[in-house]
Structure formats: structure tokens, C-alpha cells
């Protein structure tokens, strides 16, 4: 009871803080100084029409590298927590017979033919759309993380429709580590060839607004998109494989 009162008290305090914040709120009528700098200088300096991309990939590129690292660590953490060990297998053997039968029944129930056919038809398009989103990240809304998430949703689609389908862990690991490594190499090349770490002007800026423009931004987003897509696919696969199939 005391706990409940305490929680209620704390939340009331939080609500009062928030109320103060909200009642003093006035909408901005002009950009902040930093935002103004990015909007004025971004297109000329970096050649990227999408300014959020310019901020994410170049001006705040180090943050993005950290973000990719956090995602990698969390994917590795999920992999570590949900790995199959000999002991886990023994636990599975020790399940009651009823549980076991129920699990097997769930495992072998196939998706309907409509779902399976639609998956085969749509999956390439979903993945193509993901690639489109991250390759156009510097021109239109989108980018590496969004495109990667779309690719992972394609994997989710595959896992829902064809639960028995096999996803190669080795391929995921190789693609993921190669793209992560190349991302850092591109960043270091920025120090050597241009103004600093992750500077996108190591490549020609190209025609403003065309697909191969804005220096290294499409390349970085390609690498980030592949990395995020494969990492999230691996996470989804881990959650599925938890008690079925071989390692």
C-alpha cells in the first residue's frame, strides 16, 4: 500500500514538472542557431538534399557510429542470451510430454498456401524497397536504419510464412562484420583524404540531387543499411530459433 502511494506521489510530481513545461511552451518561429547553420551550409558543403541525413551521417557521424555499435552490442547480447547450449537442450528434453506434443504441433503447422505464395511474390519486392530506401537516403526521407528495418521486416515476413526456412548465420555474420568494418574504414579515409573522421567529401560530390552524389553518404548508408538489416534479421532469427532447429 505504501508503495502504491509512493508511486502515485512520484507520478504526480512528474506530472507537475511536465505541466510546467507544457504551460510555458511556445512554438519556435525560427530555427535554432545550430539548425540554421546546418540548413544554410549543409547543401553546399555536403551536397545532400536531405538535411537530416547530412546531420546523421556527416555532422554527427560519430554519434551514428556509436549508434551502430550499440545496435551491434544489443544484437550480440540477444545472441548470447538466446543461444542454444547443451544444457538448454537437456531442459527441453525434460519438458512434460504434453508440452512437448503441443510444441511439435505448433511447430509443424504450415502457413496457408495464400500466405506462402504471397511471400514468395512479395519478399523480393520488400527487400528491393529496403534497398531503395537506404540508397536514396540522401535525397528523400529514409536512410540506412529505415532501409535496414524494412529488410528485417522482410525477414520477419519470411519467418512468419515459412517458419522452417533456414537463415544462414554465417552469411549474416560475414556481411555484418564486413559492412561494419568498411564503415570504419570509410570514416578513417575521411581523416586521411578530407577534413575529418567520417567526412563525406572523400568522393566527388557529383551533381546535386542525383543518385550518386553527396560524396560518401550513399556508400555509408549502403553499409549501415546492410549492417542494420542483417543484424535485426539475426535478432529475429534468434527469437525464433530459441527452441527449434539446429544451431
Amino acid at each position: 500500500m505504501i508503495k502504491r502511494i509512493f508511486i502515485f506521489f512520484m507520478l504526480t510530481l512528474m506530472a507537475m514538472v511536465f505541466f510546467n513545461l507544457a504551460s510555458n511552451y511556445t512554438e519556435n518561429t525560427s530555427l535554432s542557431k545550430l539548425g540554421r547553420y546546418y540548413v544554410e551550409k549543409g547543401p553546399q558543403e555536403l551536397g545532400a538534399p536531405n538535411l537530416v541525413t547530412a546531420v546523421v551521417v556527416t555532422y554527427r557521424g560519430l554519434d551514428t557510429l556509436g549508434e551502430v555499435t550499440v545496435l551491434f552490442i544489443s544484437a550480440a547480447g540477444v545472441g548470447l542470451l538466446l543461444r542454444r547450449t547443451r544444457r538448454n537442450q537437456d531442459d527441453d528434453e525434460g519438458l512434460e510430454q504434453g508440452d512437448r506434443e503441443e510444441e511439435t504441433a505448433i511447430k509443424h503447422k504450415p502457413a496457408s498456401e495464400i500466405v506462402e505464395t504471397a511471400t514468395e511474390l512479395l519478399l523480393p519486392m520488400v527487400i528491393l524497397f529496403g534497398v531503395y530506401v537506404f540508397m536514396n537516403g540522401h535525397l528523400s526521407p529514409g536512410g540506412g536504419f529505415q532501409g535496414g528495418a524494412i529488410i528485417a521486416s522482410g525477414t520477419m515476413f519470411l519467418l512468419l510464412a515459412l517458419p522452417e526456412s533456414h537463415i544462414s548465420r554465417l552469411m549474416i555474420a560475414i556481411t555484418e562484420s564486413m559492412s561494419g568494418f568498411s564503415y570504419v574504414v570509410v570514416g578513417v579515409l575521411g581523416v586521411v583524404l578530407a577534413g575529418g573522421f567520417l567526412d563525406n567529401r572523400i568522393m566527388d560530390l557529383g551533381t546535386y540531387g542525383s543518385l550518386f552524389s553527396a560524396g560518401a553518404i550513399p556508400l555509408i548508408y549502403l553499409l549501415v543499411g546492410l549492417k542494420v538489416g542483417f543484424e535485426l534479421s539475426a535478432v529475429l532469427d534468434r527469437f525464433r530459433k530459441e527452441d527449434t532447429g539446429p544451431v
Binding site: 508511486i7 507520478l11 507544457a22 536531405n50 537530416v52 546523421v56 547480447g77 542470451l81 527469437f239
Partner: protein, 126 residues
């Protein structure tokens, strides 16, 4: 004079974001089921993103993408702040990673104890 159109959109987004933060905190503090606590975390997370986006809004601004619709010369007066948007993009990805790890822990705890109730995991208390 319509009262609904007089309120700025960003203010509505800010208030719903703050409300979501409170609901999520309440969920995390009161629920005993781990999955529900994780949902509470997700709600708080989303609320914080909404607050951040609403702070970056500029009256009458559009997406910070320079193209035919937003010419480069006039861009400063017509776009919203790109910095909070970029920060929210980062925050969404981090939130996703944290949620995935929490769910993995929940799966592990469920396998070990056959329960999702946090009150029954007493020996990990300090």
C-alpha cells in the same frame, strides 16, 4: 475561431508525448509482469521521441529536405530543425536495441523459472 485549430500542432504532440511518458512510467512501476514492464518502457521511449520532435518544430515548417518544393535560398525560413529529428532517429534505434535485450532477458527468465512475474524472482534482490 475554432478552439481545435488555435492550438498549435506541436503543442498537441508535446502534450501527448508527456502523457505517454507518464503512462509508461506508471506501467513500469506498477505492473509485475515483465512483458508489461517492457511495454511500459516502450511507451516512455515513444513519448520522449514525440517530445523531442515537437521541440524541433518551427511554425509552418516542412521536412528539412531541399528540393523543388523547398528552394535552397529560402530553406532557412521554411524547414523544421533537422537536429532533433536526427537525435530522434538515433534514439529510436537505441530504444529498439534496449527493448530487444530486455525481451531476450524475459525469455531467458521465463525458461529458467516458468514465470514472468517479477515478484517471484526474489533471490536476485539486493
Amino acid at each position: 475561431m475554432n478552439i481545435l485549430t488555435d492550438i498549435p500542432v506541436s503543442f498537441i504532440v508535446l502534450c501527448s508525448g508527456l502523457g505517454l511518458i507518464l503512462i509508461g512510467l506508471w506501467g513500469m512501476l506498477t505492473q509485475r509482469n515483465m512483458i508489461r514492464m517492457i511495454i511500459g518502457f516502450s511507451l516512455t521511449d515513444t513519448g520522449i521521441h514525440m517530445v523531442m520532435v515537437s521541440i524541433g518544430y518551427v511554425t509552418g515548417g516542412t521536412a528539412p529536405i531541399i528540393n523543388d518544393a523547398v528552394p535552397m535560398a529560402d530553406a532557412v525560413n521554411r524547414v523544421v530543425d533537422p537536429v532533433p529529428s536526427a537525435l530522434v532517429l538515433t534514439a529510436i534505434v537505441i530504444g529498439l536495441g534496449v527493448t530487444a535485450v530486455m525481451l531476450a532477458f524475459a525469455v531467458r527468465i521465463y525458461k529458467a523459472r516458468k514465470t514472468l512475474n517479477i515478484d517471484e524472482c526474489t533471490e536476485s534482490r539486493w
